[in-house]
């Protein structure tokens, strides 16, 4: 156990030495939301949103950005690089299994994302008056299974990519899908219904984050013709994605 703690501390230090991952994964979501909040039209109640505010509606999407950067960009690139450079092979000659470095990476990224989320929720609350999550425990659950599913996809990319370049490439494709379904490129209330519903089922599940953060706004993405599935179903699907993708990753993962 102390070996894992030590490995996690070292991987954590290495993470902090990657300005791109820290900057875009941890700080950027909060920064971007604050930046958008600096535009009066986006932070004031608008008839376009039935009197709600854009920043409130969009806050979970900022979280999706951080999760996608850490989950399907940082993780696959780091792990594929470790494999390509023989770091994993080197570890397999010690009494420690190379899976330990994987577990350590996941712990580090989970902690980093918790910090990034706390920054986002906290700064949105303090600066933009976005209320704290209505249902904190369910929000935490939506965060954990949602990010878990994204991480599992990242592991799967790392497992199947033959080298670090391919890992970054495959990761970017998944990244775009996650960002799109999460409403990063086009706010979800402007999307056609079926694309909005796509976001309910695509990790990390932006709808579940929105419902547990600002419940009364969730209805905005729900049109008469197609209602969002129940929260339990959304979380269940994220958990399923997490289990299936991580099982596949574990089977396909090559250590060298």
């Amino acid at each position: 156990m102390s070996k894992l703690v030590k490995t996690t501390i070292v991987e954590g230090k290495l993470f902090l030495r990657e300005p791109m991952s820290v900057g875009f994964g941890v700080l950027f979501p909060a920064g971007l939301l604050l930046l958008l909040g600096a535009i009066p039209a986006l932070r004031e109640p608008s008839p376009d949103f039935d009197g709600a505010r854009f920043v409130e509606f969009w806050a979970p999407t900022a979280l999706v950005i951080g999760m996608a950067i850490l989950g399907v960009q940082h993780i696959p690139t780091v792990l594929a690089t470790y494999r390509e450079q023989g770091v994993l092979r080197r570890l397999s000659t010690t009494p420690v299994h190379p899976a330990q470095v994987l577990v350590a990476q996941l712990i580090v990224v989970m902690l980093a994302m918790l910090v990034g989320t706390a920054l986002l929720v906290g700064s949105a609350w303090l600066v933009l008056d976005v209320p704290l999550p209505d249902q904190p425990l369910l929000f935490l659950a939506a965060f954990l299974v949602g990010f878990g599913a994204v991480l599992a996809l990242g592991l799967l990319v790392a497992a199947v990519a033959p080298n670090a370049r391919a890992a970054t490439g495959f990761g970017t494709v998944v990244f775009m899908l996650i960002m799109f379904a999460g409403g990063v490129y086009l706010p979800r209330f402007l999307m056609p219904d079926f694309l909005v519903r796509l976001g309910d089922y695509t990790p990390p599940g932006v709808q579940a984050l929105l419902e547990t953060w600002s419940g009364d706004l969730a209805a905005l993405s729900t049109v008469e013709s197609s209602a969002a599935p129940p929260l339990a179903l959304q979380l269940g699907i994220m958990a399923l994605v997490a289990v299936v993708a991580s099982t596949a990753a574990a089977r396909l993962f090559r250590w060298e």
Binding site: K3, K6, E18, Y82, G86, V87, R89, T93, T94
Partner: protein, 302 residues
């Protein structure tokens, strides 16, 4: 009892036979070399020894353990330096040593290891800022950080400059003097000749010869040459009458005497009896390169 014992090892990858019936034993305190061209099966052999590969046939015993069944225990006691394995770019020298040390039950004195390996002033340097020689020394340090009984070193000095190579060789001898048995894989003749107590020459997956470097040379040595400038003219027949001499050639003022056995002694005795001094006397002997050619039918570096 041998520290490492390999018996009838076979390993194939698809249709390619990488290792074909290799057997050898390494004794305690030895520097045992495996020498051969690239693709000869050296790395597959050592990877099987350290449990990274499963042999198709044959048995391996390291410190009395089976590398597959007792892999965790084996890894406690066998330090490995792999070919082409790097560390994360931003990992610092001390962090690497400390981390790898924490993986073993009895880590070595890490500070001392840094000093012995000449890395003390690079303690806080990130891996990517190290020179090739420093990376190699760190890699050796990591192979030794668990206080192993056996160190397996694969292509120790590839990519190092001549000074760094000599320093690394000195270091390996010091490690051996501390009681560590060393299995060294190399495709450098001079490295094998300088370091190894015994040497297995592997070619196309088979052991072509196994002996001390001197023994291998002697096996290969069919003829030697003695070259000198006689202080006075001398009748060739004085030399050609000797049973050891097979031919005498003139090369300017020099004589080149070719023969076998104790050629030098036979020649100098005849000269002494005739009051002739052999000036600029040189004995040309076969080296390990010649031995390799004789044993495998081709030169090592191609």
């Amino acid at each position: 009892m041998p520290i490492i014992e390999v018996t009838n090892l076979h390993k194939r990858y698809g249709d390619v036979v990488a290792v074909d019936d290799v057997s050898f034993a390494v004794e305690e305190g030895e520097i045992f070399g495996i020498l051969g061209p690239n693709g000869a099966g050296k790395t597959t052999t050592v990877e099987s020894i350290v449990g990274l590969r499963t042999p198709d046939r044959g048995t391996i015993s390291v410190l009395g353990m089976d590398p597959q069944r007792e892999r965790t225990e084996l890894r406690e006691r066998v330090g490995v330096q792999l070919q082409e394995s790097r560390l994360p770019d931003k990992l610092r020298v001390w962090e690497a040593l400390d981390l790898y040390g924490s993986y073993y039950r009895r880590p070595a004195d890490r500070q001392k290891l840094l000093e012995v390996l000449g890395l003390a002033d690079k303690r806080n340097a990130p891996y990517r800022k190290l020179s090739g020689g420093q990376k190699q020394r760190l890699s050796i340090a990591l192979a030794l950080v668990g206080s192993p009984k056996v160190a397996v070193l694969d292509e120790l000095t590839t990519g190092l400059d001549p000074q760094a190579r000599r320093d690394t060789w000195d270091l390996i001898e010091q490690v051996r003097d501390r009681g560590v048995t060393i299995l060294l894989v190399t495709h450098f003749m001079d490295e094998a000749e300088r370091l190894c107590d015994r040497l297995a020459i592997i070619d196309s997956g088979r052991i072509a010869a196994l002996d001390t470097p001197a023994g291998l040379v002697a096996k290969a040595e069919q003829e030697q040459r003695v070259r000198f400038r006689p202080s006075a003219p001398l009748d060739d027949r004085l030399l050609t009458d000797l049973p050891e001499v097979s031919s005498v050639q003139h090369s300017g003022h020099q004589l080149v005497v070719t023969g076998t056995g104790n050629l030098l002694h036979a020649v100098t005795s005849v000269l002494a009896r005739n009051q002739i001094v052999a000036q600029d006397l040189r004995v040309e002997q076969a080296n390990l390169d010649d031995a390799f050619v004789r044993l495998t039918g081709r030169p090592l570096e191609q």
